[in-house]
């Protein structure tokens, strides 16, 4: 897909007028190729050339926005098959299923569960991304359920019905919030396509197998509907894996545009009512190319591991997140409060900090610069060693804040306590617990 600067240059007016803000057409073409300029900056490019260029420079997998406003989610735009090549781009979204045939109370209950399944981890907010409303009763009930959900949550919606008239009715009460229409199939295609087009909503294209899916997406794109997700209707987890891999390879390696769309998955359909197994299949979708993953329930025990896994898979594997090296104060510490040290790896810091916070015990936490490595990794790499810890303690101003000279080190590096004591003249070194989870009890015991 990526066009060279020269390919682009051939299609520009070659007048070097400079209206694009760049002196020459060639320089502008180079910037375009590098993704540092937009074609729309050139007011003189012919419509035909513009169409060809935008088609040829389109990303191999389209990005699709679902919903409107702050809570809208964006999926797709992935550029690689393996995350060591380049960080994955848009984290898959978890949608939770609500059945229109359920009572209002049951629907409200699920929405409350969705709201409660909200976690803070390493300064990121983790939660459910969308609500999927599935038609399991009649058309009026579907519409009412969509209205109800919409009135109670700002999360994007997935409207699940293969009946176009039912979909039309539900869109009357939800089109402004750009729900995902799910799904267009061979039998309802023209009608669903018209709905997606008229309401400018994203749409799922569903068929049996990728070849049939591709035939439909081509028709949709030809009709001007490009914000698509795809569903090849796998009947086993193995088929799902195969189709996800084939779609991603087709889009990226073969530049096969009809499959260059994010994938929507329904792991619950493959798990025969076993909700633990559903969660495991969903975890494979996180790793293997799911875009929107629809779950049958919003249980916290299911969402927490999935959300944390997603955070793992979508982080940059090259660059650990770090926090600033200094002394952090928790729960209004006075001079008697204990003084703990650890490394500047964000994950380590936030785990330790959250335990100290929840203990409600006044505490100082000193963060030693350790290139963003965990305690043991930093120790093994020579970054969290007595010399460096002592240097930090000396420079940190701990002596002015504290009415004592005692530092608590992580239990994992108990072996450095003797040497650290030598480095830190006049200080006591206490070995803390190995796991941060045991810190509250440790701090309470220390306070007596």
């Amino acid at each position: 897909m990526a066009l060279s600067g020269l390919d682009i240059f051939k299609k520009l007016p070659k007048t070097n007028c400079g209206d694009c803000g760049i002196p020459t057409c060639l320089a502008f073409a180079m910037k375009l190729a590098a993704g540092q300029a937009e074609l729309s900056q050139c007011p003189h490019v012919s419509p035909e050339a513009a169409a060809e260029l935008s088609e040829a420079s389109a990303p191999p997998m389209r990005g699709v926005t679902i919903g409107a406003g702050d809570d809208a989610i964006r999926v797709g735009e992935e550029t690689v098959l393996f995350r060591h090549e380049k960080t994955f781009v848009n984290p898959c979204a978890f949608a939770v299923l609500v059945e229109s045939g359920a009572s209002d109370e049951a629907i409200d209950g699920t929405l409350a569960q969705i709201e409660a399944a909200s976690f803070e981890r390493v300064q990121q907010h983790l939660g459910v991304g969308a609500v999927a409303i599935k038609s399991t009763a009649d058309a009026s009930r579907f519409r009412a359920a969509v209205e109800r959900v919409r009135s109670k949550t700002a999360l994007p919606l997935v409207l699940m019905s293969e009946d176009a008239s039912e979909m039309a009715s539900a869109l009357e009460v939800s089109a402004e919030v750009k729900p995902l229409i799910c799904a267009a199939t061979e039998s309802n295609f023209e009608a669903m396509l018209a709905l997606a087009k008229d309401n400018s909503c994203p749409m799922v294209v569903r068929a049996s197998g990728l070849e049939a899916v591709a035939a439909l997406t081509e028709k949709a794109v030809a009709a001007g509907v490009k914000d698509l997700l795809i569903d090849s209707s796998p009947t086993t987890a193995g088929e799902a894996l195969r189709d996800h891999v084939f779609a991603r390879r087709a889009a990226l390696n073969q530049k096969f545009a009809p499959l260059g769309f994010p994938i929507i998955t329904f792991p619950g359909d493959l798990a025969a009512g076993d909700d633990m197994l559903e969660a495991l299949y969903a975890s494979v979708d996180v790793e293997k190319y799911g875009g929107v993953v629809v779950l049958t329930s919003a249980d916290a025990w299911k969402l927490l591991p999935l959300l944390v896994l997603r955070q793992n898979i979508y982080t940059d594997p090259q660059r650990p997140m770090q926090v600033e090296s200094k002394i952090y104060e928790f729960n209004n510490p006075g001079p008697d409060a204990p003084f703990l040290v650890t490394t500047n790896f964000s994950l380590t810091y936030f785990i330790v900090a959250s335990e100290i916070e929840s203990s409600k015990m006044p505490t100082y936490l000193g963060i030693v610069e350790a290139e963003g490595l965990s305690v043991l990794t930093a120790w093994a790499a020579g970054k969290f060693v007595p010399e460096r810890i002592a240097k930090f303690v000396g420079a940190s101003g701990a002596a002015e804040k504290l009415g004592h000279k005692e530092v608590v080190i992580p239990g994992m590096v108990a072996q450095i306590s003797g040497e650290l004591k030598e480095e830190l003249d006049g200080w006591d070194v206490v070995v803390g617990p190995r796991e941060a989870a045991d810190l509250p009890a440790f701090l309470k015991k220390k306070a007596g």
Binding site: H84, L241, A300, L304, V308, L309, P317
Partner: protein, 320 residues
């Protein structure tokens, strides 16, 4: 080009290399691992003759501080490794046992090499299933302990480890002498893993008697590194046919998953995290399955329900 509808061709990819096939144990109860020439469950690309094997953990001394749902699921066996191992086989269907000699740690119970060897033999005799034996992770002590264990298990084709850059010579030598294989452990690094395999094979241990332990991080605690290092090791083996990465991968994940607070915390401690029993099982199972998708051929696991669940997922993923 434009307007020309391209036909869809299934993008199958074949590999240049095949993962070595290794038998753990001897005779009938032997468990064969590895042998695939495709990424995990990519049955559309190649063959995966052996579903990843799950080795159930047994500890030499009773572990402490395990969450109640976990210790309840195992039952009253944790004080005695032989009883524990028999329960694994008879009750939970284990075909492979991973004996964890944590009790030999000089910083802990400091059990002797002879005691450890006696435990290993007792477990092997009582169950008849093949063994993977992990020392405590103390390099010097492990060299001593695994020497005694290797001699005591003479001819039973166990896997012993972890052999690290600090003790691989001693461990590879006893593995060679008594007909075992080694688990070669390196800290999350493709080149270090290759290098250790080179060093071990140079000592004369055949390459098909090595499992790579790439170091394991659980979901939320380093998995992002483990997963990717495993993927890279696997791609080097399959695509580049790199001989010193074509060993099966083993993940010692039970201890990592159950260290996570998310796996251990009770509902009273973390009311917002939901059912503690399910959450713990899922934390371990999801760690295991994620590592499998990264390339693991052997999973060392703890909770019987997590093991059963991962087994079900393997069935579903095999159905293609």
């Amino acid at each position: 080009m434009k307007g020309q509808a391209m036909a869809y061709r299934e993008p199958r990819e074949s590999a240049a290399g095949t993962i070595r096939e290794i038998a753990v144990g001897s005779g009938d109860p032997a468990v064969v691992v590895g042998g695939e020439n495709a990424l995990p469950f990519y049955l559309f690309d190649g063959a995966m003759p052996n579903t990843p094997a799950i080795a159930m953990e047994v500890f030499d001394v009773a572990p402490e501080g395990w969450p109640t749902p976990l210790s309840d699921a195992l039952g009253d066996v944790m004080g005695d490794p032989v009883t524990w191992a028999k329960a694994c086989v008879e009750k939970h269907g284990a075909r492979l046992i991973c004996l964890q000699l944590a009790g030999t740690d000089p910083g802990g119970a400091n059990r002797t090499a002879e005691e450890a060897a006696a435990t290993a033999v007792a477990v092997a005799d009582a169950t008849g299933v093949p063994l993977i034996v992990y020392g405590s992770g103390n390099a010097d002590k492990d060299a001593e302990v695994l020497k005694a264990v290797a001699a005591a298990l003479n001819g039973r084709s166990a896997m012993i480890g972890p052999a690290t850059e600090d003790n691989y010579k001693a461990i590879a030598a006893v593995a060679l002498a008594y007909g075992h294989g080694v688990v070669a452990e390196t800290p999350i690094d493709v080149n270090m893993a290759k290098q250790l395999n080179i060093l071990i094979t140079q000592l004369g241990l055949p390459a098909d008697r090595i499992l790579i332990d790439p170091s394991t991080g659980a979901v939320g605690y380093g998995l992002e590194y483990s997963y990717t290092v495993m993927e890279r090791l696997r791609l080097a083996a399959l695509i580049q046919n790199d001989d010193m990465t074509r060993m099966p991968l083993i993940c010692n994940l039970g201890k990592e998953a159950w260290r996570a607070k998310e796996a251990k915390a009770t509902e009273e401690e973390e009311p917002a995290w939901g059912d503690a029993a399910k959450r713990g099982v899922l934390w371990e199972a999801m760690t295991a399955l994620s590592l499998t998708m990264g390339g693991a051929d052997v999973l060392v696991m703890r909770h019987p329900e997590a093991i059963a669940l991962v087994g079900k997922a393997f069935e579903g993923l095999s159905a293609q």
